[in-house]
């Protein structure tokens, strides 16, 4: 009896990605590999494929009228493509100090950078207008969404140069985002969400009311999902510096329940405003996150 063949991994593991020199290279490597794998699946896909005709309406761009149809039927129709359904994608990447935590080859922030870069790359291929906000307690960096050539590299550079520091405050980035956005679009939040679920939702809700489609990538390190300490330990908060001594019993039993409850509360709060919540372990390849993104995008069409 021969051993089962290992499943081919379409995406490289995070520790391998950590060895790649630039974020651009990481994004291309991941996304291209991911897309090759998608050929087998009819459910997903995107390109400038024909989608439908719809009657011309005042205000439509005359460039998109199908003049062949007009010649045959003397009616003006606008030819629509799948790609045209895209509008804006804004990434909000949490760069607080807690994101710097990691027990493996990459920490949460690096993983978040890879994910953000891949999403930017993928959206860019789709001709989406892509923007990003890097935040912690404040908005540290901001790139408005645009489809201009060179925008992708500008955003990748913005993501690349960020580093984790200080605390977390979701309110400010969302308010900032709400202040400049005038189009409906997609909002991707990449964070470990060490905040109160209600407060987070209170920050996100105004965006949801404006018709933004929101997906929350909840990044957690495996060491956060299950504590790796065998006995009572003094744990120091990366953001506040406060130390809390936890007992062995809490590590074994209490913590698992608490993190589970916290994730549930974030998920429920997200569901309450129609946002998607995707829990991502930083030990896993980026497959699931990208797949969730595409499903999310598919749904909103």
């Amino acid at each position: 009896m021969s051993a089962p063949e290992p499943q081919p991994t379409r995406l490289l593991r995070p520790e391998v990605l950590a060895g790649l020199s630039t974020l651009d290279l990481v994004a291309r490597t991941v996304v291209e590999g991911f897309l090759i794998g998608l050929h087998r699946s009819p459910s997903f896909g995107f390109s400038q494929e024909f989608a439908e005709y719809r009657p011309y309406a005042e205000g439509d761009d005359l460039r998109y009228i199908d003049w062949n149809v007009y010649a045959r039927s003397e009616r003006t129709y606008i030819k629509r493509f799948i790609g045209e359904t895209n509008s804006h994608l804004v990434l909000l990447l949490d760069a607080s100090a807690s994101m710097g935590y990691g027990t493996g080859a990459v920490n949460k922030f690096q993983y978040g950078q890879y994910l953000a870069a891949c999403l930017c790359y993928m959206a860019s291929k789709q001709h989406d207008a892509v923007g990003c906000i890097i935040f912690d307690e404040e908005v540290r960096d901001y790139r408005p969404p645009t489809t201009r050539s060179g925008n992708l590299y500008s955003i990748l550079h913005t993501i690349d140069r960020a580093s984790p520091a200080r605390g977390t405050n979701l309110d400010k980035p969302f308010r900032h985002f709400a202040s400049f956005t005038r189009h409906r679009g997609m909002v991707v939040v990449i964070s470990d969400f060490y905040c109160d679920a209600e407060e987070m939702i209170a920050s996100v809700r105004p965006l949801a009311f404006k018709g933004q489609d929101i997906i929350l990538f909840h990044l957690l390190d495996p060491g956060e999902l299950k504590l790796n300490f065998s006995e009572a330990t003094l744990l120091e908060d990366l953001e506040t510096g406060n130390a809390v001594e936890v007992s062995g019993q809490f590590i074994r039993e209490g913590y698992t329940d608490r993190i589970g409850q916290h994730i549930d509360s974030i998920r429920k709060a997200a569901a309450g405003i129609g946002a998607d919540h995707v829990l991502v372990s930083t030990a896993e390849p980026l497959d699931q996150a990208l797949r969730n993104y595409l499903m999310f995008r598919q749904r909103r069409k």
Binding site: G100, D221, L235, D237, T240, V244, E245, V246, Q249
Partner: protein
């Protein structure tokens, strides 16, 4: 409660180490960085508290350990109050007068004498007094007496000497005197209380307490406020002449002139400016010394309170090396090389003259106080008779066996039968030295014989006149001495090259040859520069007579003593002349340099010394009265036991913590 060595308390600073280590231990290992403590529960706070307490307990034990160690070294004493029934009777006043060199300063000794007279005059009727002088040694001047004129006359005869006074040694001597008396004693110490006389342990300054009798100490400093003294501290021979060092405790810049005399003649005078408290070295060029011991005197031309140390004496030995005959059948042989190197490496000043046995004229034998023969087997015929006569006339020979001795059934000169020639082959276990007569003067100062390996030697049948000095593991003699009337022969039953044994390449060889040269020549190897108060060892061998002339021209030895070994106390500064039948040597004697440093003890130290001794006042009418006496009880042994207990507890506790798995103690 007090401390005898309070400086050791600085050792308590070492407790900073465990405090620092514990701080590290309690902070670093358990502290882990975590993304957020938002979801954590501050649980079982008592765990950390308990751990902290455990650390604190361990830390306290470790601090106690170091503190106890420091306090133990500081020698704490507890003054125990004991009720002493004062026995009826008179009080004995021990008047201890410092007669060390420094008391020659100005009128200090006159003050000491006046103070002594006053003590004697003030003593109560019926009390006794005894005068003791203290310098290198303490000397009791007569029996205790109540007759004041006799005691005063005794004081008149005292003078400051040239010795050095150490108060610890002095108190030890006084304790010996006090122990013999069964009455209350007051020790009156009249001194300049030089700082250099303090012992390393304060406890050595305290007199022994006696049961039922009190011992009190009264201190009388005789120094004034202004002390000014310049002195010469060194005379060092250099390649070109002599360096003379001058120093002093002067408070203002002074100009001095230092004259250097060699053999009584002024060589040169040099001037120098000395800033306050500074020192200077003056270099003199000496073109030529006499080929003998040279008297060197350096004199400061400066008027200060202690003029005796303005002159320093030194001897420069420029005696040409004496010839030593080495009889051999090959002047290029290894034994000749080894012996020549060893003899000339010694400081006795010998020059080896190797002579081929075939070219030797026995008539010159009498020119040599001792000779060497590298292989006794080469002696034959008329030379045996000549050497025997040489020995009987008081000559001395250092001989060894060799290849030529192997071939003979009997050793020449000694007529010892060769029982067996032990010729171990290469690779065989060599014989080792097991028996050494360390009482023999030749071997008293040598060590390293037990490291010697002997492969070949002659096993001899000895007679009653032979004295085995070094023997091998099978009892066979390796080194022996045989006397011939006034002469002597030292024989090594193995050879003096490195084929029969490894003696010539061992460190013991040079030392042995140096000692043999001194022993066989009968010449004293004297230290040429000595300190007043030391003892000079004069060795005499055979019929050689000698005499010692002190710096003041007195002959030190009586006629009978001139033929015996002597240990002479050097009391005066200057040049001692040592005359023997074959040499004339000089010894330069100076006062101990510590006596020229006239820094005196602080008044606080003198006060503490007195306080440490003071019991209840002893009065003449104290007969039968119960007095409270403060006996100092040393606590170091109790602290040591405590220290042991703390070590034990600390070890057990530390081990427990280690075993608990929480680790890091």
């Amino acid at each position: 409660m007090g401390l005898l060595a309070p400086l050791f308390l600085f050792g308590i600073l070492a407790i900073a180490l465990p405090v620092w280590l514990h701080r590290l231990q309690t902070q670093s290992p358990e502290r882990q960085r975590f993304s957020s403590t938002m979801l954590l529960e501050q649980s079982r706070q008592q765990v950390h508290l308990k751990k902290k307490l455990r650390y604190l307990l361990l830390l306290a034990l470790r601090i106690a350990l170091l503190a106890l160690l420091a306090i133990t070294f500081a020698k704490p004493v507890w003054e125990r109050e004991t009720a002493v029934t004062i026995q009826p009777g008179s009080i004995l006043h021990l008047v201890v007068v410092d007669t060390s060199f420094s008391m020659q300063y100005g009128d200090w000794f006159d003050r000491a004498r006046d103070q002594s007279r006053q003590i004697i005059a003030n003593m109560a009727d019926g009390d006794l007094a005894q005068v003791i002088t203290a310098s290198n040694t303490i000397e009791v001047q007569g029996e205790p007496s109540a007759v004041r004129p006799d005691l005063a006359a005794m004081l008149d005869g005292l003078q400051a000497g040239s010795g050095h006074l150490d108060f610890g040694v002095m108190m030890s001597g006084i304790n010996g005197v006090v122990r013999d008396y069964k009455q209350n004693i007051i020790i009156h110490l009249i001194s300049d209380f030089q700082s250099s006389g303090l012992p390393s342990r304060f406890a050595d300054l305290l007199p022994e307490s006696r049961s039922n009798h009190l011992t009190e100490l009264e201190l009388y400093p005789v120094t004034g406020t202004e002390i000014r003294n310049l002195y010469i501290d060194t005379i060092i021979p250099t390649d070109h002449g002599l360096d003379v060092g001058v120093r002093g405790n002067h408070t203002e810049a002074v100009e001095i002139t230092v004259a250097l005399n060699i053999n009584g003649e002024l060589l040169q005078e040099q001037s120098a400016m000395l800033d306050a408290g500074s020192q200077a070295t003056l270099s003199y060029t000496v073109v030529e010394y006499e080929q003998a011991d040279n008297r060197v005197e350096a004199v400061i031309n400066y008027a200060d309170g202690l003029e005796a140390d303005n002159t320093r004496y030194a001897v420069v030995d420029n005696t040409p090396p004496s010839p030593v005959l080495l009889l051999t059948n090959d002047v290029q042989a290894l034994p000749v090389t080894y012996l020549t190197a060893a003899v000339e490496a010694g400081q006795q000043g010998y020059r080896v003259e190797p002579v081929n046995i075939n070219e030797f004229d026995p008539r010159v034998l009498q020119r040599y106080p001792w000779i060497m023969i590298d292989d006794l087997g080469i002696i034959s015929g008329g030379l045996v008779t000549s050497l025997t006569e040489y020995l009987q006339a008081g000559g001395a020979i250092l001989a060894a066996a060799g290849e030529r001795a192997l071939a003979q059934p009997q050793l020449p000169l000694l007529d010892y039968t060769v029982r067996q020639a032990i010729l171990s082959s290469a690779g065989a276990q060599p014989s080792a030295v097991t028996g050494i007569d360390a009482s023999h003067p030749l071997l008293a100062e040598t060590s390293g014989w037990r490291d010697v390996n002997v492969m070949r030697y002659l096993d001899l049948v000895l007679d009653a006149d032979a004295h085995t000095m070094v023997s091998l593991d099978n009892g066979a003699p390796l080194l022996l001495e045989r006397r011939f009337d006034q002469g002597r022969l030292i024989l090594l039953t193995s050879s003096l090259d490195n084929r029969w044994n490894d003696i010539p390449i061992r460190p013991v060889f040079v030392n042995f040859i140096a000692e043999a040269a001194q022993y066989l020549s009968g010449r004293d190897q004297l230290k040429r520069n000595q300190i007043a108060g030391d003892f000079m060892q004069l060795l005499r061998s055979g019929t050689a007579a000698g005499q010692v002339v002190a710096p003041d021209g007195r002959t030190v030895l009586s006629l009978a003593d001139t033929h015996r070994s002597q240990q002479i106390k050097i009391e005066l500064t200057g040049f001692y002349e040592i005359y023997t039948s074959d040499s004339e040597q000089l010894i330069a004697v100076n006062a101990d340099l510590r006596e020229s440093d006239l820094s005196v003890m602080a008044a606080g130290d003198i006060g503490r010394w007195k306080e440490a001794v003071t019991g209840s006042a002893v009065t003449a009418d104290a007969a039968g009265e119960i007095k409270i006496q403060h006996d100092p009880v040393q606590l170091w042994h109790i602290l040591l036991i405590l220290f042991g207990i703390v070590v034990l507890v600390e070890s057990l506790l530390g081990n427990t913590y280690l075993g608990s798995g929480r680790g890091s103690v």
